[in-house]
Symmetry: C2
Subunit: 114 residues, 2 copies
DNA sequence: GTAACCAGTTTACTAATAGATACTAGTGTA
DNA sequence: TACACTAGTATCTATTAGTAAACTGGTTAC
């Protein structure tokens, strides 16, 4: 009986870890949130996401693309422009981010309020 | 105008990062979830959270205690037993974990289903 | 032609995270 | 007295994450 609960619990942990892995690291959420405000070019993101280096931005965008949260579009202009946007799937993070926000805000208040 | 939105966005990011920082790492969530199923002693947790080492468990529990998610109680028995439990505040993570679970599960299905 | 912008990549480094293993100090059991 | 269990700590190593700064190759504006 207790064994079954344990197994169930481990199985349930997998998707939770997945979600956390995708979002963790210093830069993924700032990038995602920046893209919530509209599609952006590489250099635009580099400027808006304060403190990020080109290397990290490049790497994180690739990760996000792999997980299909972000779409990379090469625009047929001269010179070529590259636009990054959230996929519909990326946008589905909104509720989760809101929940992170709500809890984090509560936490801030509690820690500061001591 | 655009500046104001950017500032607002950065301010909003802080609590989101806080929440993520507290939850990220390999072991914090497994420990929290184990404690959702009831109070546990150190060695119990070491056995239940598969793969964790004593060192990591010790460190993670301290972090969680610092953030007031977990309470450490030394029981007045002989030999001394130490019990870890979720605080009321720790329990307030339930909704957030559920949201992580829901999103993570969707993600799993999408990735596997390809 | 040269200076500047775009979309990155490369190299070299440091810092943070995690793992393996051994160890301590106290208690309980046979 | 020997062995095992509890609640950890200490030391060392490996891996991963992140930073800094230079560099590429193409484009456009002066």
């Amino acid at each position: 009986m207790a064994e079954k609960i344990k197994e169930e619990c481990e199985k349930r942990l997998l998707p939770v870890r997945d979600a956390l892995d995708i979002l963790s690291g210093k830069w993924k959420l700032p990038i995602i949130v920046a893209l919530f405000f509209g599609n952006k070019r590489f250099k635009e993101l580099e400027r808006e996401v304060k403190g990020i280096t080109g290397k990290m931005l490049s790497k994180e965008l690739k990760d996000l693309e792999t997980n299909q949260l972000v779409k990379r579009t090469v625009l047929d202009t001269s010179p070529v422009a590259v636009e990054y946007s959230l996929t519909k799937y990326g946008k589905s993070l909104e509720k989760l981010i809101t929940e992170l926000y709500k809890w984090g805000e509560k936490h801030r208040k509690m820690i500061i309020g001591k």
